[in-house]
């Protein structure tokens, strides 16, 4: 499994700076280059680890195919893992869990540091 993949765009950082009251979903959206509904799915997984798609769809009040797509993106970005659980009567289901928060949080801090450093440098050029 690869770790979470930060892919912030300057455009998204700009929105983050201009937002009146940014939320964590906004920060995640920016840092990992994901959609707000995908960030909300990750947020939900933190409080509901080992959820199935059906359970998540229920909690998020969205249909399963949408939740499935969100989960694919989150897995691609390394923010979610899944485990196969065999059912007693045969067949299996997948249970999804979030990448541990400390890991995601560290990446958010690192990316925030890098961006702030970049902007500080640009401002320094301004005063010269």
């Amino acid at each position: 499994m690869s770790g979470p993949d930060p892919s912030p765009s300057p455009e998204q950082f700009r929105e983050l700076m201009l937002g009146e009251e940014p939320t964590l979903v906004d920060v995640m959206t920016c840092v990992f280059g994901i959609q707000p509904h995908e960030a909300r799915t990750y947020e939900t997984l933190l409080s509901h680890p080992s959820s199935t798609v059906a359970e998540l769809a229920d909690t998020l009040d969205r249909d399963r195919s949408n939740v499935n797509r969100s989960l694919s993106t989150l897995r691609e970005k390394g923010l979610t893992t899944r485990e196969r659980r065999l059912l007693d009567g045969g067949g299996h289901i997948y249970q999804y869990s979030p990448t541990p928060l400390p890991e995601a949080r560290e990446l958010m801090h690192d990316t925030l540091d890098a961006w702030t450093g970049y902007v500080h440098d640009r401002i320094d050029e301004f005063g010269e």
Binding site: P10, A54, I93, L101, I123
Partner: protein, 133 residues
């Protein structure tokens, strides 16, 4: 000094200009700032409106945004026989830079706190029933 500032404003930056990035200034604001930076004398709102070919109220709101974000300063000119009017000139680039650094620091602190609060909220996930179909 005004030259380097307007030069700066026109520079092709990744963030499409710090004015916009940090302060959310609009295109018109940038035009007015450049106008003031390149003009040898401070201008009144009426003069600004005429130069950028906009309504006085539109120009006024834009100038107000520039004043509020510290890029432009307002000066009062008194008439000899009472009464006064205002003129506007660009702020010292060093002061503007200091102000922007301060805003950036505030923003950085706010973001760091936001990420930190996330931990408190989720580090201890609530108990839930085992997964069912």
């Amino acid at each position: 000094m005004p030259d380097s500032m307007s030069e700066y404003l026109n520079r092709d930056m990744q963030c499409e200009g710090l004015l916009e990035c940090i302060h959310g200034l609009k295109d018109l604001d940038r035009r007015i700032f450049t106008l003031l930076a390149e003009h040898p004398e401070p201008l009144t709102v009426d003069e600004i409106a005429e130069q950028v070919d906009r309504e006085r109220s539109t120009a006024y709101r834009s100038v107000q945004r520039l004043v509020n974000s510290g890029f432009v300063q307002k000066e009062q000119v008194n008439y000899d026989h009472g009464g006064y009017y205002h003129v506007f000139h660009p702020a010292d680039p060093d002061e503007v830079a200091d102000e922007m650094q301060r805003m950036l620091n505030d923003w950085y602190a706010k973001m760091g706190q936001l990420i930190g609060e996330f931990r408190e909220q989720y580090d201890q996930p609530p108990q839930r029933a085992p997964a069912e179909r």
